[in-house]
Symmetry: C2
Subunit: 338 residues, 2 copies
């Protein structure tokens, strides 16, 4: 057998080796959704960078430049939500292709500004360069959090319950509907295309978890629950068991999946770009968790499994246990964006 190609996660692990251990003042280095800096004792700085590349992260056949701007900032803010923090500032770097009218950059900016206004983030600058092959958006966001509120990928404990903040798989279904040009009822279309084109960063839920010390570990769902839960397990040195019957599959997803001849469970487990939060919490917090979410006008969190000993992620189905560790979208191994 050939040795497998070096995947993104292996690469990140090797980069962490090159860069060495986190120095003093760095609470979290490589390996979480944000870097965390202890710039002063009362407030940690959360810092993230992301690049969105045409043909990989977005296709302008499916979305307008303004939608692209909205989504680009939304998914960056999701990284701040994934630490329980509050976003504050964003800087933008645009790589613009020579064959595209430069005025379009203002449409991207208008989309960015809409999401910035919605979540009280300040877009304060950036740089613009030519890009020979496709549009590229780089964003870096700074946020803050009190040290005692910080939520990381490590911290999950055996016996904790695993929750998500909303339905899964709708964004992946939306992308497939767009790719295959399938016509849906306006209602279904609004749900699945909305989930894919206009994800909302779950900042209020992240703040609720952080301020009330409800969670032991937290991540946002960008690559799919199987893959992202595996990150929590790896960083927390635990395993997990998901219950197929508890996976939050909406009626809309079921209907769209039928049209696509896809298994909705598969979309929910492996579909990326949901940008819901996934977190772990001890079972005795269950009622407080529900109270806090209700008090914050948030939909109730959905329990989908529990943390177990070991280092694997299993799916419990009526046919038995399936090992789904890391089965999601890995940027360097998957041939397409699914």
């Amino acid at each position: 057998m050939q040795s497998p190609p070096l995947g993104e996660f292996a690469l990140i692990a090797q980069l962490a080796q090159v860069f060495g251990p986190a120095p003093p003042g760095v609470v979290q280095g490589i390996g979480d959704d944000c870097a965390v800096l202890a710039l002063n004792p009362e407030q940690y700085l959360l810092w993230t960078i992301d690049s969105l590349i045409e043909g990989i992260h977005f296709d302008l056949a499916y979305m307008s430049l303004k939608q692209l701007g909205r989504k680009a900032l939304a998914v960056n803010l999701s990284d701040i939500a994934a630490m329980g923090g509050e976003p504050q500032y964003a800087l933008l770097s645009i790589g613009w292709p020579p064959d595209r009218e430069l005025n379009g950059a203002l449409e991207v900016a208008a989309g960015l500004q809409e999401i910035a206004d919605q979540y009280a983030v300040r877009l304060i600058g950036g740089d613009t360069v030519r890009s020979p092959a496709g549009l590229m958006l780089g964003l870096t966001v700074l946020g803050s959090i009190r040290p005692e509120e910080l939520l990381c990928r490590h911290g999950a404990q055996v016996g904790n319950l695993i929750y998500v903040t909303g339905p899964l798989g709708e964004a992946a279904a939306g992308l497939e509907v767009l790719r295959r040009g399938i016509a849906l009822s306006p209602e279904l279309e609004a749900t699945v295309l909305g989930a894919f084109l206009d994800p909302q960063p779950q900042l209020p839920a992240g703040r609720c978890l952080a301020q009330n010390h409800l969670a032991t570990a937290l991540i946002d769902l960008s690559d799919g629950v199987a893959s992202d839960l595996f990150h929590i397990c790896t960083r927390s040195r635990v395993g997990a068991r998901l219950h197929a019957l508890q996976m939050p599959i909406s009626a809309a997803l079921s209907q769209v999946a039928a049209r696509l001849h896809r298994d909705p469970l598969d979309l929910a487990l492996k579909g990326g770009e949901d940008y819901q939060l996934l977190f772990t919490a001890p079972p005795h917090q269950e009622s407080r968790l529900r109270q806090c979410f209700q008090a914050a006008n948030l939909p109730p969190p959905l329990a989908i499994g529990q943390i177990i000993a070991g280092d694997r992620v299993y799916l419990e189905t009526q046919e038995g246990l399936r090992d789904i560790s890391g089965a999601g979208f890995e940027h360097f191994l998957a041939p397409t964006n699914e």
Copy 2:
């Protein structure tokens, strides 16, 4: 006549309109080398993002992946130098093409780490994605500066002298030597290829200017002195006059320019990527300026002209005055990287 295409600088001005004025806590928004945040009263945060795109900013026919890593961080640190600040942390985003072996990312990382070590910067994380067409490096750097030390593009005053920290045009000559495959003596090669392939951020000079309150305005030379000085003039609402005979053209540049059949003065004025600092200072500071640079073991700054009233940048030659305002490399208007 057709209206001219929207250039980078016009785009940045229009983006600034979309993003609105700098909010409270933001000392500098769009329009300088870094954004400046007043996170606490004793220390400003300097923050920059840059993207380097294969085919625009670099060509791997001319440089190794490790050299690319070195240069990518060096030019980002140059933005911190351009405010007089000290860099502290960097985050990396790599877009990796599918046809390039992923292990190469570790060579890029090794180059980044070399420059990070040299300038006491901590590389603390990042993200990696696939890139369908060419390698892309996104970097964001955080630095700090005391509020009273901050140096911006605005602040130049009529009568100020204009200085640069080193010779100009060598990097542009180096790039042309590489492109045209011209063989040089080892000494000339080391000078001009070194200037292009391995620029050093002028952080010690920036700190010297800032700590001793020597300059009224500061910028780093990435696009060429004609273009970058014009930024200072625009932001400071002044004009400038450069003296052709004072332009720092090294003996090496003269020799290489002769081989290239190029005017060395043209390379010095319009060639980009020197990454020297350009600053303005009142004439009465001249002797203190020289003393401070000497005390810091820095080569003496080179006076190249003076700030005048108006809004244009002129070059004084033996044939008279030439308006060279903004004559440099503008990312969206130039067909190539020269």
